[in-house]
Amino acid sequence: MTTATTPVRTAARPSVPAVGARRRRSGLRKRLELALLLGPALLLFAGFVLVPIGIAAFYSLFKWNGFGPLDEFIGFDNYVDAFSGTVFQSAIVHNLIIAGLSIVVQLPLSIGLAMLLNRKLRGRAVLRALVFAPYVLSEAITAVIWVLMLQPNGFADQVLKGAGLGGLVHQWLADPGIVLYTLFAVITWKYIGFGIILLLAGLQGVPAELREAAALDGASAWQTTRHVVLPLLGPTIRIWIFLSVIGSLQLFDVVWIMTTGGPANASTTMATYLVDHGFKRYEFGFGSAVAVILFVICFVFALLYQRFALRRDTQGALTRMVG
């Protein structure tokens, strides 16, 4: 915002004629240049991002089945309906549970594995590739594979029984009390490779000299990790948390294919709820309202996170416009 207004102000300010003229001309050129270079991208962004969001917000004010004219204006009723519906409430809770579990379970796991894989050990390249492999699969394929493995007496149950852990066998996808955690395990399987690769890249940025210095000062491996490595990994971890929370809030594919949000809505997420109502029930107005809610939640989180958590990391990276 500020970057856009700054040049206008500079240009309008009367100053020493000669310098002002030159500055004005160069300002104009700069703006022309900007318009030329940014214009197409901005147009596309407006057309394919801003306008659809606006349209969705508009539709959300109507009771509309997606076919006829938009003639039943109901104000914010769709929003009231969504927030007062128990299914949508539980969907929000499910998204938050997944986001929370990601930070509590996936993050430490990723850091640990990344540190292991960062060491010099035999077959490291193969291990890295293996860990990263699930991330390469599409979500749809991941979901189909796991549906087959998790069906009663399927591969997962056989493995557990073979290992003498038959007591752990559950109705992974059929028990409302467990299904969300089953899905979280599948999501972890799929995305942990991404976290590890990100953190490995972060670990490359930890200078060896610092570790050596710490070792010379007599720090134990744990102390080095705790006081040297982890703080330096901070920016990477903060970015990972950002991506992970946004991903958790938008969670859709794996859930839709594996459970369609069931049984008894025990694994409904905001996104599956949205598709279920928008497309399966022809409630496009209501679906749009849910989409707007999902968007606002993600947007507000992104803004707050950028403002408070990522500020330090991005401070040096922000480019400032030269008036």
Partner: protein, 431 residues
């Protein structure tokens, strides 16, 4: 100032008026038919054989007989229709012929103004071709589509597993069904499989209990009013609850898909892992794709949903539905002619003979592949009352709410009253 404003208003009027006019005229008079050669875009769900090949042949044959009509078939996955049809009907160029399951969905789609009223074009032949069944593609007495197949739901069972458990005759009453379940369990056989993940198979049970508990009049009136008021509905829910309490289903049924993979409910029966499944007449075709067993057809039997003691409904009433096609307005005349061809004897005979489904045209019924399918066909067509699956008969959102409420009960949550409330609330527009 004013001059500036007038243009957009006029432009908007210019854009809206034809729309409004076409929406009004869509009903009575046929909009300008393209004369001369016509190309019909045809969206169907025949992505797999046998129906895929049959439709390919239909396209070629029809073009040969009608050189000025070219049909561009576009097979789409079944699941794509709910998303693609609304978008297409909003757009400028919807397909000319598209898969339609009639009733509730069709009624929603008609509000787009792009679905053609083909009452006049179909009047001369529709009763002869489809019997009374074509009425399910009517909305407010006007014909908006034509079926090519009908479906009836009942129990498919494995004769070998029944024999193993000492069940000699298929159950005719709920008591007999419960006894059969006990006998099968005693032999460690999963009595009934159900694809609870997909929800609609769960709903078949509630649908059938309702058909047995409620009189045909109550059913008709409730569907028309989209309101469940008669106490028979709650009784149906109670029947379902009692039945669930006998635990007749396979382990993990709430997460089992209906038709995908050997572990699906259909796959379990096909591979002898479960003895029965309440499914439509398409079941043998679905099962044969999920097993290596080439002798499957001879091992499978069929019996109707049992009678329920004290119910107001006719014990011979049947649950079902059908597949059909609807026309959009651009070339509705050519489209209706094409639909007549789909209902004609040569096409219907192919559908029946190749096991693609139960024909709507009675002439073709004798070509059905197996005795079992002929028995299903006879039972269904002779039934005193056909109830279309409620999720299709009700407006879409209400049908989905019903399926959800039933699925919740299958997952151990919810009450008989809860199902009734869920439907009535959805009909009132509440979430």
């Amino acid at each position: 100032m004013f001059a500036k404003r007038r243009i957009p208003v006029l432009a908007a009027l210019a854009a809206v008026v034809p729309l409004a006019l076409s929406a009004c005229s869509g009903g009575t008079e046929t909009p300008a038919q393209p004369s001369g050669p016509v190309t019909l875009t045809w969206w169907h769900n025949g992505t797999t054989d046998p129906i895929k090949s049959i439709w390919e042949k239909v396209v070629a044959d029809y073009h040969q007989a009608h050189p000025d009509v070219t049909i561009k078939a576009q097979p789409l996955q079944n699941e794509d229709f709910p998303t693609k049809v609304p978008l297409a009907l909003q757009g400028a160029e919807p397909p000319d012929v598209y898969q339609s399951w009639g009733a509730g969905d069709l009624a929603s789609q008609i509000t787009s103004g792009k679905v053609a009223d083909i009452t006049d074009a179909t009047k001369p032949w529709i009763t002869e071709t489809t019997g009374k069944f074509g009425e399910n593609w009517q909305v407010d007495g006007k014909q908006y589509g034509v079926p090519f197949e009908q479906h009836f739901v009942g129990f498919w069972y494995r004769k070998d597993l029944f024999q193993q458990a000492g069940i000699t005759t298929p159950p005719k009453t709920m008591e007999e069904l419960n006894a059969a379940v006990t006998q099968l369990k005693a032999k460690n056989i999963a009595p009934i499989s159900v694809g609870g993940k997909d929800r609609w198979p769960d709903a078949f049970y509630f649908n059938y209990f309702a058909i047995r508990e409620c009189s045909a009049d109550v059913l008709k009136q409730s569907v028309k009013a989209v309101k469940l008021e008669d106490p028979c509905w709650t009784k149906a829910g109670q029947d379902l609850k009692n039945f669930l309490a006998t635990q007749p289903f396979q382990t993990g049924f709430a997460g089992t898909p209906a038709q995908q993979g050997a572990g699906s409910s259909a796959g379990l029966v096909a591979n002898g892992k479960a003895a029965m499944e309440l499914q439509g007449d398409w079941e043998p075709g679905t099962m044969s794709a999920l097993t290596e067993d080439k002798q499957l057809d001879s091992k499978i039997g069929w019996f109707p949903f049992p009678s329920v003691a004290g119910g107001q409904g006719d014990p011979a009433a049947v649950l079902g539905g059908g597949d059909g096609f609807a026309c959009t307005t651009r070339a509705s005349k050519a489209c209706a002619d094409f639909l007549q061809y789909l209902g004609s004897e040569p096409v219907q005979t192919q559908l029946a003979a190749q096991g693609a489904g139960l024909p709507v045209n009675t002439v073709a019924a004798k070509s059905l592949k197996t005795d079992t399918l002929r028995a299903v066909y006879d039972y269904g067509t002779k039934a005193p009352y056909l109830q279309m699956y409620f999720d299709r008969a009700f407006p879409t959102a209400v049908g989905a709410a019903l399926n959800d409420a039933v699925a919740n009960m299958f997952a151990g949550q919810g009450t008989p009253e809860g199902i009734v409330t869920a439907v009535n609330q959805a009909a009132a527009g509440n979430k």
